[in-house]
Structures are given as structure tokens and as C-alpha cells.
């Protein structure tokens, strides 16, 4: 397809997606917000974890930082939502940088375990600071923002993630990442600063996760640290990305949409057995489509062209 046609098609698609709140309200909009939120989170997660194969379970931690900073800024310091939304991702990125420097030397399973504990550690740290220095009158995020405003902001973030991913794929950094993912030893021998590359990408995912957390905070109106730093979110992001496949930029999107809808059918039809049905769904996904939806499409294509 010529570039202009392709560009036009993408532009049309984006406009159509942006027009959704004008058509759908209430229920479908709330599902659209969920899809948009997980698309941004899963895609930015895959930018780092896809090529490097480091399974990071830290999304919940950074997402929580975004939500918590907005809440504490607005409740304890009287700062505006917009200021906190602008600050939060940078705080998370700095933190991700520090964590990355300390832990990205860890390999494989050690890294997974560390990131899993991270959300819990930050939640405790936050509670400790609040308990000893800030006090608390309840963390309220009272804004005039409606669901559709949140949707548009998330759409903007999602586009930024895609744009970033697209640029990355064409940059020296992206090339370095791919080599690094295939063999870190080789990457180091050809002169790639592997530590720096990994830390920078890890910071990016932290940045976007906190930004999403900050944008979504007004939806909850009231933030509790033990709820906002939920480990479940980290797992969902990973599972959705793996379902879609992490080899392509649009892969996670193909995981997020069916998974959110499936989750919705499950919650609506089997309200008291969601956890069990979810577990079964995971097993099926892992056994039947281990390479994700994009992997499956690739395989089918190969088969049809003999």
C-alpha cells in the first residue's frame, strides 16, 4: 500500500475511534475506556518486555504511583489535577530509572520476582510517608472530568505510545534492542551499551503506566493505596499483551480487545465464578495460541501460501 493511502487509512481509523463517545454512552463507553487503558498499558509494556524478554510485573506499581500522586497532590497540597498529571509520569520514570539501574542486571526469574514485589514495596513506602509526614483526610480526586474526557486523554496517550513505538522500531535504539533481545552477549560485543538501553526503555514503560494511572484517577474519585497498587493489574497487562503477541506493535491491541470483551461476558454471565472461568481461559490461551493472536495470523498466512 502506498504510504499516503496507509497514512490516510490510519487517520480515518483514529478519527472514527475518537468519535466513539459521540455515539456510545454509559456502558459501551466504560468498556471503551477499559480497552483504551489496557491498550496503552500493554503496548508500552510490550515495547520493553517484547524485545528484551524481561517479564516486568511492575505495571501496577507505576500505574499506582500515577494515581496516588494525583490524589495526594489534590487532597494534601491543593494542587490541580493537570499539574499532578504532568508531574506524575516523570516521577515514575525517575523511579523506574533507579530501579532499572539496580535490577536490570538480574536475569530471568529474579527480575520477575523483584518487579512483582515492587508494587507492594512502593505501597508500603507510600503508606509510611503518609503516616509519618502527611497525615490523611482521605484521598479525593474530585474533578469535572467525565468518562468521555478520560477516554480522549487515554486515546491521546495510546497514540503517543504507538508513535513512540513506531519511531523506536526505525531507530538505532530499536535495532540495538532487537539484537539485545536475541543475544545479550553478542549485543555487548558489538558495542551496544546494553544496560543503558534497557534502563531507558524501562523508564519509558514506567512513564506511560504512571500517565495512564494519573488520567484514570478521576474515574475513581477516592484513592486507597491498597487498592490502587493492585498486583492484579500487572498480571492482566502481561496476559493481554501475550494473548495479542508482542512481536508487532499492534499485537497487544489484538489481545486487549478480545480479552476485555471475554472478561465482560464472563463477569456478566458467571458473576460468582469469574476467577475460575478466568483461570480456564488462561489455560486455553496458553495451550492453543502460545504465540498470541498475531503469531496465529502469521502461521495461517504461511500455511495459505504454499
Amino acid at each position: 500500500m502506498p504510504d499516503i493511502l496507509r497514512g490516510g487509512a490510519i487517520l480515518l481509523a483514529v478519527l472514527a475511534v475518537a468519535a466513539l463517545p459521540l455515539l456510545a454512552d454509559g456502558y459501551w463507553l466504560s468498556i471503551a475506556v477499559t480497552i483504551m487503558m489496557y491498550t496503552a498499558l500493554s503496548t508500552s509494556w510490550a515495547l520493553f518486555s517484547g524485545p528484551t524478554h524481561y517479564i516486568a510485573l511492575s505495571t501496577g506499581a507505576f500505574y499506582g504511583i500515577g494515581g496516588y500522586l494525583v490524589a495526594t497532590g489534590m487532597s494534601d497540597f491543593g494542587t490541580s489535577f493537570w499539574t499532578m498529571m504532568a508531574i506524575a509520569p516523570f516521577v515514575a520514570a525517575l523511579l523506574a530509572g533507579a530501579i532499572g539501574i539496580a535490577t536490570l542486571r538480574l536475569s530471568g526469574v529474579y527480575f520477575v520476582i523483584f518487579t512483582l514485589g515492587l508494587a507492594e514495596m512502593i505501597r508500603n513506602l507510600v503508606s509510611w510517608v503518609q503516616n509519618n509526614f502527611l497525615g490523611s483526610k482521605g484521598l479525593y480526586v474530585l474533578t469535572e472530568l467525565e468518562e468521555r474526557h478520560i477516554y480522549w486523554m487515554l486515546l491521546a496517550v495510546t497514540l503517543a505510545v504507538f508513535l513512540f513505538g513506531w519511531r523506536l522500531g526505525r531507530s538505532r535504539m530499536g535495532f540495538a534492542l532487537r539484537i539485545l533481545g536475541n543475544d545479550e552477549e553478542v549485543a555487548r560485543h558489538v558495542g551496544i551499551d546494553t544496560a543503558r538501553t534497557k534502563v531507558l526503555l524501562f523508564m519509558t514503560t514506567g512513564f506511560f503506566a504512571a500517565l495512564v494511572g494519573a488520567i484514570v484517577a478521576p474515574r475513581y474519585y477516592y484513592i486507597e493505596p491498597n487498592v490502587v497498587f493492585s498486583p492484579e493489574l500487572s498480571f492482566l497487562v502481561v496476559i493481554m499483551a501475550l494473548l495479542g503477541g508482542t512481536r508487532r506493535l499492534y499485537g497487544p491491541l489484538l489481545g486487549v480487545i478480545p480479552f476485555t470483551l471475554l472478561w465482560e461476558v464472563v463477569s456478566a454471565s458467571f458473576p460468582s465464578a469469574t476467577t475460575m472461568v478466568l483461570g480456564l481461559a488462561f489455560l486455553l490461551i496458553v495451550y492453543l495460541i502460545p504465540d498470541g493472536v498475531t503469531g496465529l495470523i502469521g502461521k495461517l498466512r504461511k500455511r495459505s501460501v504454499p
Binding site: 456502558y27 466504560s30 490523611s136 483526610k137 482521605g138 491498597n226 487498592v227 463477569s267 456478566a268 460468582s272
Partner: protein, 400 residues
């Protein structure tokens, strides 16, 4: 799951819904409820909310349903699980409102969930009679969401109850002025401890030990040892259910010699009395009821008979009362008209199992018990706001 199986499964689900609705004589009035069937708050939900909903449905349908448009219509609950997750909660409320199109909603469990759900309730004009939501922002919230009502009191009201209880004990010469205070380092505990620090000082108490512990701490023995070393006259813990139990256990082990011992949430649970028996005679805690009114006695008996469990001595009765408010308002209006029902709740008084409920201009019912004390197997209110029927607190007996 492939597409064909999925289609068959959804068709089966759709069919089962179609059949289940067929034999009803009168079309039911649908009440939506998003419950925490799993996750951190599932325990509280199971003690305080779910049995009351079961009891209420049974009572109302036992007399043929709610009287609207001149005939009785049965009530039906449409329930979803949110796994104690606010995002899931919002989605489920949204689904109830616009897919299931329920006629009314039943308030969720927990301050955060009531507040998170409030904007959607407001958009669809559902009255929200919140119970397990305790905050000092009642005025701001009801200004913003005029269909939201509060029934269980404010944070400050709670701390005042404890302060007054301690003062009464002090004026009787039961305790001196030395208070040991601990709190769980979570939104709830931090907020209450912050307010208490000021109020205790104003009341002339001397906080000799002030310590927090993280949520989910498995071992609270250092906390209790520290409190004991400070030789306090009274011990106050702004605690959650697991730590209320653990702190009591440690106090028994350490034989903490205080004449006033307060633990916050879950002290009012029947399981607390069941676990510690006589050792907790005279223990203080959040909540309490007046178990001696006829309405309360009848309610407690019916709750036991219908659900097979005893209600707690705090929010259970208030939650049932909130359902009664909704029920009486719907019958008062005589129509399934949410806006009219909200107006009716604002402008009328309601006879419930906790007595008369009437809302002020901020949609707040200033009638609640705030501190209870275990006396002979019952958890009796010793401090209240606007109730006026709590009894005087007495000294705690030893642990043995």
C-alpha cells in the same frame, strides 16, 4: 475457546435467562447490587451486607412484594462480583444501569466504593443510601451528588465517641490520662489516628505511646510489648479486622493491664465475641447497638432464623435500615420513579430497626452509635451521636 463454542455458550446463557423470567405473575422490580464476593473486602461484605439483602428480599417477597401502581410486585436482585476492584466495580454498576436496566441500586460496601459509584448513580438518578461509608467530606460529596445519603456517621463523629467514652471513664476514676494509641498505616487508620491525636490532646489526655504498623503485618507482638512498656491506662487501636483480632490476642498473651481497651473494625463481629469468649468482657470497639428495643430484638431474631447467622453489632442493622428506607420511599411514591423516590427520601422520616431515620439538608442522618462495649455476650453501645440510648461505659475486667 473457538468461535462456534463461544456462540453456543452465549446462546445457552441467553436461553436460560429467557426461561427464568417466564413464570412470574407480576414483573419483578429489579435491584442492582455489586458485591465484593472475592478480594480483601469479601469478609466484611459477607458478614454485614449479603445476609441482610437475603433477609430483606425474603421479607418483602413474603408479603407479595412492593406496592407500586396499586399492585404488589416482587423484588429481584441482579448481582455482580467486582473482586474488590474499583475499576471492575464501576464497569459492573454501568452494566446494571444500562444493560440490565435495573430499577434501583443497593449501596456497595466500603467508603471508596460508595464514592467511586456515586457519579454513575447520579447520572442515572439512582438514590444511593450509603451505609459502610465513613468520611468527613459528607457535605462536599452530597453537594456534588445530591442523590447520595449517609447513615453511619463521619470520621470526626467516631473519634469524638471514643474521646467521650474515655473522658467518662476518667471522670469516674476508672482510668488516668495515659493513652497508648496504635493505628494501621492505611488510609482509614491514618485518618482516624490523625483526628484522634488532636481530640485526645484537647480532652487532656496524654498519648504515651503512638505507633503504626503496616497493613497485613502478621506479627503484632512488638507493638503490644511496646504499648505495655509505656504503662498506659487506656489502649486505643485504629485497626482493621485481621489486626483487631491479632491485637486482642497479643493483649491477652501480654496480659496488658488497662481498664479501657479499644479496637476499631470487627470488634462488633459475632466472630470476635465467639473467638475470645469471656476474655473480652468490657472490651470497647467501633459500632455497638442498642440490643434492647423491640425492633432490634425482632430484627436480630429474624436475621438468625432466615440466614442462619447472627448480624454484627454495628452496620448490619443500619444496612437493613437503609433497605427499609428505600422500600418505604418506593411504596411512599407508589411508582418506580427514581427521582421521585430520591425526593421522598429527602423529605420524609422512616421507621426502621434502628429507630427513626431522617436526613438533614446535607442528606446526612445524624443518628448513629459510635462506640460499643462487650457486656455479657452482647456488644452494647456506650457512645452515640443523636441516638441518646447508649449506656455508660464501665471498666474492662482482666483478661482471665
Amino acid at each position: 475457546m473457538n468461535r462456534r463454542n463461544f456462540a453456543i455458550a452465549s446462546a445457552a446463557v441467553a436461553l436460560s435467562f429467557a426461561f427464568s423470567e417466564a413464570p412470574q405473575a407480576q414483573e419483578p422490580i429489579k435491584f442492582g447490587m455489586v458485591a465484593h464476593l472475592s478480594g480483601p473486602l469479601a469478609g466484611g461484605e459477607a458478614v454485614t451486607h449479603l445476609p441482610n439483602v437475603q433477609l430483606w428480599v425474603e421479607e418483602v417477597n413474603g408479603r407479595g412484594g412492593l406496592m407500586v401502581d396499586g399492585k404488589r410486585r416482587p423484588v429481584e436482585i441482579v448481582q455482580y462480583d467486582d473482586k474488590t476492584n474499583p475499576a471492575e466495580h464501576i464497569k459492573a454498576v454501568q452494566r446494571l444501569a444500562s444493560q440490565d436496566e435495573v430499577d434501583f441500586m443497593i449501596a456497595p460496601y466500603g467508603t471508596g466504593f460508595n464514592i467511586a459509584a456515586a457519579p454513575i448513580y447520579a447520572r442515572y438518578k439512582y438514590p444511593l443510601v450509603a451505609v459502610t461509608a465513613i468520611t468527613d467530606e459528607i457535605h462536599e460529596l452530597t453537594d456534588k451528588f445530591p442523590n447520595m445519603f449517609f447513615t453511619l456517621g463521619s470520621t470526626s463523629g467516631f473519634v469524638e465517641g471514643v474521646t467521650n467514652t474515655l473522658k467518662t471513664l476518667q471522670s469516674k476514676g476508672v482510668i488516668g490520662d495515659k493513652v497508648a494509641m496504635v493505628n494501621v498505616a492505611d488510609a482509614f487508620g491514618i485518618e482516624l489516628a490523625g483526628v484522634a491525636r488532636e481530640k485526645f490532646k484537647e480532652a487532656g489526655f496524654n498519648i504515651v505511646y503512638d505507633k503504626s504498623y503496616p497493613l497485613g503485618t502478621p506479627d503484632l507482638s512488638p507493638v503490644m510489648k511496646g504499648a505495655k512498656a509505656a504503662a498506659p491506662d487506656a489502649f486505643v487501636a485504629w485497626s482493621y479486622p485481621p489486626d483487631s483480632f491479632a491485637l486482642t490476642e497479643q493483649a491477652i498473651i501480654e496480659d496488658l493491664d488497662v481498664k479501657a481497651f479499644y479496637t476499631a473494625v470487627a470488634t462488633a463481629f459475632p466472630a470476635y465475641g465467639g473467638k475470645f469468649g469471656n476474655a473480652i468482657e468490657g472490651n470497647l470497639g467501633a459500632g455497638g447497638v442498642n440490643p434492647n428495643t423491640d425492633a432490634m430484638k425482632a430484627y436480630r431474631k429474624r436475621h438468625q432464623d432466615v440466614t442462619g447467622k447472627a448480624p454484627d453489632y454495628w452496620a448490619s442493622a443500619t444496612y437493613y435500615s437503609a433497605l427499609q428506607v428505600l422500600e418505604q420511599a418506593i411504596e411512599g411514591v407508589g411508582k418506580v420513579d427514581r427521582e421521585a423516590v430520591t425526593e421522598h427520601i429527602k423529605n420524609n422520616a422512616f421507621e426502621t430497626v434502628i429507630g427513626t431515620i431522617r436526613f438533614d439538608k446535607h442528606n446526612n442522618s445524624e443518628r448513629y452509635w459510635s462506640v460499643g462495649q462487650w457486656r455479657g455476650g452482647q456488644f452494647v453501645a456506650v457512645a452515640d451521636t443523636g441516638m441518646g440510648d447508649s449506656v455508660a461505659p464501665v471498666a474492662k475486667k482482666g483478661w482471665k
